[in-house]
């Protein structure tokens, strides 16, 4: 029931602007349910987003919210967290936002292992601008700027996150939304840079061009192709869901606090 979670929304801003059947709303619900489960102080939560359909999410959530510039959400969030580490900082980005223009901030936030909980809404496309290919568009799929099928390979976002130094990575889908809620909770609880890839449907800018008749068809595709981690082999269009990696490393803001204390103790 919406009323159970309505306190976390700016209800006056609803209904939202997303298209019929767009998965972003479902991901938003999963995020809010995670925050409710975690019983976090609403005043202490910051949600930062970039620009894109996904990033419009911040306008609907009743926290301290920042709808920043395309690709830069993590850099804004880094400033927020570094300046005031006691805040709980969530970052919501689209796949283009995070992996195309924002790729550099992504690897460096991961390298610093700064304590941010990051949700990348992967709808395999630039939704907001009407369906151009993104770095996460699968090979051969169609987009307005890949009219003959995408020549490029999709970026393995979680693999890059891990190589760059992130300490938690997971994947779920709009369809697997209870898993999504769970991995967001785990991501929050990991004291470091934690990434959740939320596979979502964009029926309007991606589905139509790639033979999905209805939003429900896209959710069915998620259901069938999202394979719980553990299974040995995965097929062509299949992808793993669940926790993908976890690692140990020093967290940036805690290290910085140690430095402050060391220096204030007179040491250099």
């Amino acid at each position: 029931m919406f009323s159970e979670i309505s306190e976390y929304f700016r209800t006056e801003a609803l209904p939202h602007i997303w298209c019929p059947g767009c998965g972003i709303g479902t991901v938003m619900q999963a995020l809010v349910r995670a925050i409710k489960t975690l019983q976090l102080d609403q005043n202490n939560i910051v949600v930062v987003s970039g620009i894109g359909c996904s990033s419009r999410m911040t306008g609907y959530l009743d926290f301290n919210t920042l709808h920043s510039t395309h690709g830069r959400a993590l850099a804004f969030a880094t400033g927020i967290k570094a300046a005031k580490p006691e805040l709980d900082v969530f970052v919501v980005m689209g796949d283009g936002d995070a992996a195309a223009i924002g790729g550099n901030h992504f690897i460096h936030a991961a390298r610093r292992n700064i304590d941010l909980t990051v949700i990348v809404i992967n709808n395999s496309i630039y939704g907001m601008t009407g369906g151009q290919s993104s770095p996460l568009t699968p090979h051969d799929k169609r987009a307005t700027t890949s009219p003959y099928g995408n020549l490029e390979r999709p970026l393995q976002l979680l693999a890059v996150a891990e190589a760059a130094g992130a300490t938690y990575g997971a994947r779920a889908t709009a369809y697997h939304n209870q898993l999504l809620t769970k991995v967001i909770i785990d991501a929050y609880n990991n004291p470091g840079f934690s990434v959740v890839e939320a596979v979502s449907q964009c029926p309007v800018s991606y589905g139509r061009r790639n033979k999905f008749k209805t939003p429900a068809d896209m959710l069915r595709w998620q259901k069938e192709h999202g394979i719980m981690k553990g299974r040995q082999e995965i097929g062509d269009e299949e992808f793993l869901i669940g926790e993908i990696f976890r690692a140990q490393a020093a967290e940036y803001t805690r290290e910085y606090e140690k430095l402050r204390q060391r220096l204030q103790g007179g040491e250099r």
Binding site: G21, I24, T26, A216
Partner: protein, 71 residues
């Protein structure tokens, strides 16, 4: 055994519903149907098992399952 289904209400917020058809497609009990203009109709409320699949998959917070406490 308590049959919760009896006290379940399926409420559609038509102001928010965008007629995407997701709830219809995934309701395991086919509680929901659409009318000729695509609007969601709670066709078989009595069949609802309060699984909340519709609620969780609805991108628009437009479908609500209310289970009354007094079973």
């Amino acid at each position: 055994m308590v049959r919760v289904t009896e006290n379940t209400q399926v409420i559609v917020n038509h102001d928010w519903c965008k007629k995407c058809g997701i709830c219809l497609a995934f309701c395991p009990k086919r509680v929901l149907e659409s009318d000729e203009l695509g609007r969601v109709v709670v066709a078989k409320p009595e069949e609802c098992i309060a699984c909340r699949i519709c609620e969780r998959l609805c991108p628009d917070f437009a479908i609500n399952i209310e289970v009354s406490k007094d079973e």
